[in-house]
Symmetry: C2
Amino acid sequence: MSLTARERILTAADELFYGDGIATTGVDAVVDRAGVALGSVYNNFGGKDGLVEAYLRRRDHLWRALWERVAADAATPRERVLSVFDALLEWCRDQAADQGCAQVAGLLQLPAGHPAVAVARTHKEHLMRRLTELAAGLTGVREVAEDVAILYEGVLVRMLLGSPPEEAIPRARKMAETVIAARSGTSAP
Amino acid sequence: MSLTARERILTAADELFYGDGIATTGVDAVVDRAGVALGSVYNNFGGKDGLVEAYLRRRDHLWRALWERVAADAATPRERVLSVFDALLEWCRDQAADQGCAQVAGLLQLPAGHPAVAVARTHKEHLMRRLTELAAGLTGVREVAEDVAILYEGVLVRMLLGSPPEEAIPRARKMAETVIAARSGTSAP
DNA sequence: CACCAAGTAGAACCGTGGTTCTAGTCCTAC
DNA sequence: GTAGGACTAGAACCACGGTTCTACTTGGTG
């Protein structure tokens, strides 16, 4: 066997959970696509809840790594905050992103007490913290982070609604530039 | 009886579907909260699918009406596009909006063929069309509409993630102002 | 070799939740 | 008054999906 059952399950779950929704896709569908025994899901993840949590946690890790890698190329604070849009664009070149943010989707379709909602919340808290850190040096650090967060979430929803990434993401990035410039007093008193 | 069963069901469904999620809340829960017989749901809506569709359709109507009413008070094209943020803020004064946009939530948790997803898609298409109409007269009508849409969706997600409406909505509105001003070449007052 | 962990195949269980049906009540309109 | 439509109460049905269990195979390791 080339890949371990756990990884096969995780990739299958990612495709199905993200593409068709979490509640909509049953464990059987994941098992079928992964070409794996039903028991392997329960051996590795303890149940569907555990699988969903692992699904969001994996995406969380991937995104954090991507953010870090892309931000490392940025020289100025301004470019650093803006790099989240570059990261998003890079993600879209490889993966499907036509369902928006998986973490937000998880928050919306999972019941309040579900173990995976904590993962999603933490993911977004991390994004805010990271944006604040990246913006260090700009005027109005906290404000810039909040602004960029709105634009970031907004463009993801617009992509869910059919906007092409190559158009929407640069648009959001440009808005962020404009807003940052206006805040730092570059063009306005 | 003060209210008809259909209306009781719709208000109960609205609270539960929006607050707890659509897939999560069963027909029984709606029936219990509405204080209504189970059969009334099937008499009036034909089933859960019909109820979900009616739920989104009702919200669609409410939002369209609110947008129109608030936009009517605006004098300039610039104020007209920005009025969607005023409408959103007004909505938040009366209703809970801590779960973001119900239409987006519907898109994310309903299967592809569900009758309600068409309602949600139409709702968002209408928003885009309306934004374009409201922006008529500004430089870059289509671009302004796209920009405002991103900000609008973004602030709704940020509210879902815990941002207080009284803070996030004016922030998004301010960004829209800045972006519009930058696009039309005039510096902000 | 023997062992053990990981994986497989398939059946079976069972709670949840959407749906249907029946019998009866209440109000309205003709 | 009576016929009809809306609504109620509650039982019953039924399918789907998450979960468990057993028996078997496989591959690596001491």
